[in-house]
C-alpha cells in the first residue's frame, strides 16, 4: 500500500487519508548520547525508520517524529536533552486527542527510547480511558530474540542494547553518513548488584556510553535487523488494526 507523510501532505490530503481509514503512526524518539560513534538522534532515526516500514505496509499516515524523549538515565552525558516523564505523557495525549477529534480510527506510536516506555504506557492508559481511540505502542517487538539470533557479539545484559552492534548496524543501514565507525569502541558494564532496582546514571556504568560491542556492525546486518523488526511490528500492527472499528464509507 501507499503510505502518506503528514509533514509533506496538505490539509485536504490528510483529511482524505483519514477519511479513507488510514492510521496515523508517530515515531517517538530522543536526543540522547550513543557513544562516540553514533549520532545523538539515533533513537529517532531508528523509530522513524521502523515507522516508515510499518506505514508503507499498512498504508498508514507517517506523522513527523518527536525528536526528544525521557532520557534522564543518560543525563550526565553531553547532548542528552531529556524531557520529563510528564511532558512525554502530555505530548502523546495531546496528539491522540487531536487525532481523535479529527476522526482517526486508531493511533500507533513507534517508540525508539527505553525511557519513553513508561510515560507512553501511562499516556495510553489515559487515552483509552478518556478519549475512546485505540492506541498501540510499538517498542521494537522481538528485539532481544532478533539480536540474539543475528548479532555476533554478546549483549551487555539486563536488556540494555545501547550503541552496540544492534543499534550501530541499524544506523549504518538508515543513516550511514552520521556514523563514525573509526571511533567505535566496545565497553561492557559491570553492573552493581543493585542495578536496575536502584536508579543509576548510566555514566556510572560506562565511560564511553557504549553498552556492548559496536565494532562488527554493518549496514547489511542493519538491513536484515530492520526487516526482522519490521516483520514483527507489522504483524502486531495488523493485529491491532483488526480490533479497530471499520471506517464508515
Amino acid at each position: 500500500m501507499t503510505s502518506h507523510e503528514a509533514a509533506r501532505s496538505s490539509s485536504p490530503d490528510f483529511g482524505a487519508q483519514l477519511a479513507a481509514g488510514a492510521i496515523p503512526i508517530l515515531p517517538f524518539g530522543a536526543l540522547e548520547q550513543h557513544g562516540p560513534h553514533l549520532p545523538l538522534a539515533t533513537d529517532t532515526i531508528m523509530a522513524d525508520g521502523l515507522a516508515r516500514r510499518i506505514a508503507d505496509e499498512v498504508g498508514g499516515i507517517l506523522l513527523p517524529p518527536i525528536n526528544y524523549g525521557q532520557t534522564s538515565d543518560n543525563a550526565a552525558f553531553p547532548g542528552t536533552i531529556t524531557l520529563s516523564f510528564d511532558t512525554v505523557r502530555a505530548i502523546a495525549k495531546d496528539i491522540a486527542a487531536a487525532l481523535a477529534a479529527q476522526g482517526a480510527r486508531g493511533f500507533v506510536v513507534v517508540n525508539g527510547d527505553f525511557g519513553n516506555q513508561a510515560p507512553l504506557r501511562q499516556a495510553a492508559r489515559e487515552i483509552s480511558e478518556q478519549l475512546g481511540i485505540g492506541v498501540l505502542v510499538v517498542n521494537y517487538p522481538g528485539m532481544a530474540e532478533i539480536a540474539a539470533e543475528l548479532c555476533t557479539t554478546a549483549p551487555a545484559g539486563l536488556g540494555l542494547y545501547h550503541a552496540e552492534e544492534f543499534e550501530t548496524s541499524l544506523v549504518l543501514h538508515l543513516r550511514p553518513e552520521d556514523v563514525r565507525m573509526e571511533l567505535a569502541v566496545a565497553e561492557y558494564p559491570v553492573y552493581p548488584p543493585t542495578f536496575p532496582a536502584v536508579l543509576t546514571g548510566l555514566d556510572k556504568l560506562s565511560r564511553s556510553g557504549v553498552f556492548g560491542d559496536p565494532r562488527p556492525a554493518t549496514a547489511a546486518l542493519g538491513a536484515t535487523l530492520m526487516d526482522r523488526l519490521a516483520d514483527e511490528a507489522i504483524e502486531l500492527v495488523n493485529a491491532f488494526l483488526l480490533t479497530l472499528p471499520v471506517q464508515d464509507p
Copy 2:
C-alpha cells in the same frame, strides 16, 4: 562560522561545542493546515530554515525541531495536530533545564507558529526566574515590514500571514517539492468586528485555510525573504549573545 547539527553530532562532539561556547538553537514548529497547496509542516520548515541560517552565522548548535505546536485556532482543519499551551510550555522548559544542566551559556528558540508565542513567552519567564539561563525567543522579526516591502499582494490584515505569498515563497525556496502551486487559491477573510478579541476558529474566516494570495509566490522571492528575515534575526541573536556570560576557557 560553522554550525553544528545536534541530531547528527555524537555526544562528545556536542560536549566540545558547548564547552567552546556554542549556543543551542531550537526550531519550534507546528503541524498545521496551510491551505491546499502547502504542506502541514510549513511552520516547521520555515523555523528550521531560519534557525539554520542563524546557526551558520553565529556558530550555533542546531537542535532538532519540535514538529508540533499550539495550533488550536486551526483545529477544525484536517491535519492540524495541536499541542496544548501547557505542553508547549513544558517542552521548552524541559529542554532549557537540560541545556542549563549541561552548562549552556544561553538558549535561542526560533518559533514558526503564532500559537506558540504565548506559551514560549511564559516558558521564557519561568526559565529566567528558575533556571538562570538566558533565553531568546525569535518570532520572525520584522516580518510585517519585510512582507510589506517585498510581497506583491495585500496581506490579509490583523497580522495574519498564513499560506499566502510570504509563506508560500519561503516554502518554495526551502522545500519546493512539497508545494503544489497548481492548487494555490487566494482568499481574503472578512473579519467579524469581534476578531481577534473573541477567539474564533479560523475555519470560520476562510474556507480554504488561506489568508491572502499565494499565487504570485516564487522561490526567488522566498530566498530574498529568507535573507531579510535572517538579517533581522541574526542581528537580534548577536545582541543577545552580547548579554550572555563569556564561556570559561
Copy 3:
C-alpha cells in the same frame, strides 16, 4: 440603559438581571508600580472606569474588580504584587464557570494590565472549549491610535504606555485625589536591541518606573481619552452581544 453593580446587588436582584439577559462585565486590574505620581491601583482604576462605561451603555452587570494581576515585569519595583500566569488564568476560568452555571449568556472581561493579556487569552480559549459560554476580553481597543491622536508627548515606543500622559490623564479624570502631579517626571527608556524578545525587568529600562512624559496630563484629556476608549469598547461589546444566544423570555 441601567447598569447593575453586582457587589451592591442582592442575590435575587442579580438573578433577575441575569434572567433578563444582562451580561456580566469583570474589570481585571493589577497592583503595580506606576511611577512616583500614580497610585499602585492605576490599572484597576482604569479597567473599572472603562467597565462602568460599558456596563452603563449595554445594561451590563458590573462585577467587582480583580485588584491584582500578572505584573512580573515590574516585580523589582516596590508595591508590585504579582499573581502568576496560572493564577490569573484560574481566576478567569472559575468566574466564567460560575457565571455559566448561573445561566449567563456571555462574559466580558475588561483588562487593564498588559501582563494579564496572555493568561486571559488562554483562559478564554479554555472557557470556549470547555464551558460553552462566549467570552470577550477587552484590552483598551484602539489605544495606540487614540493616544497618537490626542496626547501631546511622544510615546515610549514598542507599545509601552506606562505612567505617562495617557495613563496619568485617565487617572486624573477617574481618581484625581490619588495623583501627585508634583512628583511626575518624564523618562524615556533606551531599549536594548533584545527587547522585548528577551524578558527584561522594566527596572532595567526606567529608574522612575515611568515610560514617557506624564507632565502635560490633565483630567480634561483623561475624560476625552475615556470617551474615545469607551466608544471603541462599546462598539466591540455590541458586536459581541450580537453573537450571543438570545435569552429565553
Copy 4:
C-alpha cells in the same frame, strides 16, 4: 498610628512603608448570596472594614481586597460567584511570595468568608514551609461569643452566621446604602442530622438564604460589634507582630 492604603499609594511610598516595618494586611472577601436584603459583597465589606481597623491600629499597609472567595456551598443561589479551593490557595500564596520578595516582615490575611478558611489555612502552611514569611489568618476572632453577648436573636446554630442580625448590623454600620431592611426576613434552618458531616447546598436549608433573624439589626449594634471584633483582632495581630523579626533600620 497611620495606616497606608496600598491601592492609593505610589510605588516609592509603598517601599518606604515596607522598609519602615509596616505589615501588609489583605482583606479576603467573597461575592456570595446574603439573602434578599444584603449585598453580594457582604463578606468583602466586613473583611475590609475589619482590616481597616487593624491597619489603623498597627500602622499596617491595607492591601486592596480579594472580591471573590470559595463559596460553593451557596452556589445554587444567584450571584454567588465561587472560586475553587485551589484558586483561593494560589492567590494567597502568590501575594505572600511577592510580599516576601519585597522584604515584608510578615503578612496578615483578614478573611470574611467561611469557605476561604480551609484554603487559606493550607496556603499558610505552604507559605510557612516554603517562603519564610510569617502569616496570620484572622477569621473574626471571638465572633460566636460576641454575637451571643450582643445580639438579641438566636443564632441559626452550628456556627452559621449568615445574613442575620450580626452580619446585617455590620453592613448597616459599614455600608448602609446597600442594605434594604424592608426586605429582611427571618429564616431558621432545620438541619438534617447529616449536616455538616455531609456537604449540603445551603439552598436545601434556607429558601431565602438567611440563617437567623436579621430584622432587629441596627447600625449602632454594628458599630459595637465591629469595635469588639476589632479589639479581638488587634490583640491577635499585636501578638503576631511580636513573633516577627524586627526590621533592620
Copy 5:
C-alpha cells in the same frame, strides 16, 4: 448485621456485598507521634476501631485503612510521616471514583487524624460535584462532649486531644499490647496568643508530644468511650444511609 472485611473478601464476595447495598467504610488514619507511651499508629487504630463498630452495626464493607495522613503539625517529632494535603485528597477521590464505578450507593470515611479533616472535606466536595456518589466523613462525632463527661482529667484546650486520657484509654481498649503506661507523662501546653491562627509546630508547645494527662487512662474507660463514639457515629451513618438511593434488587 454482618460486616464484611474487604481485605479478606474475595472479588466475587465483594461484588455480592455491594450488589446487596452494603456501604464501603474507609478508616483514614495517620502515622504520627503520640508521646512516649502510645504507638505511632494511634490514629489508625482508633479510626479502624470505630469503623469496625459502624460496619458491624450497618452491615457495611470495612475497607483496609489508609495508614498515613496529613500530620505536618507534628512533623518535627520522630516517626511522624506526613502525606501532603493534596495526596490525602487524591487518595480519597481515587477510592471514591473506584467505588462509584463499581456501583456503590455511598461511601463513608472514618477519619482519625485532625490534619486529614480539611483535605477530606475538600475531597468530599469534589466527589459530590464530579462523581455522583454520596460521601460522609465521620470525625469522632461528639468527642469533646464525651470526653468532658467521662474523662477525669482536664483537656489541653483549643480542641486538642492528643495522647491524653481520651486517646490513651481508647488505645488501651483496642491495642493494649502497644501501650507503655509506665512512660505516660502529663503535659499541658501554654498556648501562645497566636495559636491556632498562626500555624505552629506542636513541638513548640509540648516537649513530650502529649497534650493533657494520659495517666488515669484505662481500658475500661476506653471501652466506654468507644461505645459512646460508636453510638454517635452510627446515628450519623444511619441518617446518611437514609439519604442514599435504594439499591436496585
Copy 6:
C-alpha cells in the same frame, strides 16, 4: 537482627532506631481481585510478608503498608479499588520526603503489585533527583526463576503470575484463614496478539480472574517460595545498604 514495627513504636523509639541507622521499609500493596479463592488484599499480604523478612534480617524499620495500589487493569472486577498512577507516585514521594527530613539514610519500598512498578520507578527517579535520599524498589526479585523451579503448574505466560500456584501458595503460607481452596479454579488466558502492547482489561482475558492453576498450591510451597524470595531480596537490600552513607554515631 531485630526489626522494628513503626506502627507499634512510640515516637522516641522510632527516633532512636533511625538515629542508629535502621532503614525504613515500606510494603506497597493493593486491593485487587485475585480470583474466587484469594482475598483482595493478596498483594499487600505478600509485600508485607516479604518486607517483614527483610526487616528482620537487616534490622530495618517496618512501615505500615499502603493497602491500595494502581490496579486499573483489573478495574472491571469487583473489589479492585485502584489508585491513579499519580497518587501512587505522590504517596511514595511524600513518605520519602518525610523520611529524608527525619534523617533516614535510605528508603526501601517492597512492592507487591505489578501496576505500582511504573509509578514507583518514576517516584524513585524524582526522589533521587530532588531529595537526596537513596531509594530501592524491590519487585519480587527472581520471581519468574523461582516459580519455574518450584511450581508444578505452567505459568500463564507473559510474566503474569496472578492468583495461581505461586501467589496462592504464598497466601496459604502467610494468611491461610483467608484462602478458600475449595473455590480455586484454573484458567489459562488466550492472549490476543496485541497483548500487552495494547492495554487490555484483564477481564477480557480471564473470566475467573485467575491466570494459571492455583489448585496444587500448598502452604509448604508458600514457605519455600517466601524463603527464596527473601534470600534474593535480602541480598539486594544488603547491596543497597552498602551504597548508603554511614550513620554518624
